[in-house]
């Protein structure tokens, strides 16, 4: 990163707290686009967001507790009653449907966006406290992840033009 620091480059940080398939998108889309626009980006992964750094991603999305979730089906916008969403296998089925939709619409996979982030020198910080809390193994995480805590993010955030919490 040091040789990438141009001094006057714009900077952005994103705190990533959510690890579901739907909520993985906003931080990775903004991080990769910002990097493409010559912004120096730092992503801080904490709590459920930390799982987004796992080598093997198996992200899922649930309709439960998400009353505004509608999926296009047979030309209509379909919602799922919570009673149905709680049945075994429904979350897996919904996740497969969402992934198929993502592919069909030419939307990048999270794996692809994450790889783009790595290739464009986005700084990835895994929260040490979360690793301890959830007994996560750093060897299960992708290469190039830095470990740090609140102060590590703050140092970066204090120098940044944009700081987002997602």
């Amino acid at each position: 990163m040091a040789d990438m620091d141009l001094g006057n480059a714009k900077k952005m940080t994103i705190i990533c707290t959510k690890g579901t398939l739907d909520w993985a998108y906003p931080p990775f889309i903004l991080a990769t686009t910002a990097a493409a626009m010559d912004v120096e980006v730092t992503m801080f992964f904490t709590f459920y967001g930390l799982g987004l750094l796992d080598k093997e991603l198996n992200l899922s999305v649930t309709t439960l507790g998400n009353s505004s979730m509608r999926m296009p089906m047979m030309g209509m916008q379909m919602a799922m009653p919570n009673m149905v969403g709680m049945l075994p296998g429904v979350t897996a089925g919904t996740s497969v449907m969402m992934k198929n939709l993502i592919k069909k619409k030419g939307v990048a996979s999270i794996e692809d966006l994450r790889e783009a982030a790595v290739l464009s020198d986005v700084r990835l910080i895994g929260c040490q406290m979360t690793i301890d809390l959830f007994e996560k193994k750093t060897e299960d995480m992708i290469e190039g992840v830095e470990l740090g805590g609140a102060a590590t993010w703050l140092e970066s955030a204090l120098q940044s033009d944009i700081n987002l919490y997602m």
Partner: protein, 80 residues
């Protein structure tokens, strides 16, 4: 259509959605010399505003953008 501007590189991002056209454009521009011209095709209507913003922010010049049979076309000059 392109007013005698001959692109040095051509990039087809049709079928790809936000932010992939921008990411691919950036990658292509990175490998080009100052003054070289990239022609990009996209099927994403959002790309029109996004490429205007991308070029303003990165200093590359958006020479021209137009719609060709439902495909959004862009000519971008690489400015280093």
């Amino acid at each position: 259509m392109t007013d005698n501007i001959t692109p040095d590189e051509i990039l087809d991002t049709k079928g790809l959605n936000c932010p992939l056209p921008i990411l691919k454009a950036k990658k292509a521009l990175k490998g080009m010399e100052n003054g070289k011209i990239l022609e990009l095709a996209s099927s994403d209507p959002g790309a029109v505003k996004d490429f205007e913003a991308f070029c303003r922010a990165t200093g590359n010049t958006l020479l021209k953008s137009w719609v060709d049979d439902g495909v959004y076309m862009f000519l971008i000059e690489r400015v280093v």
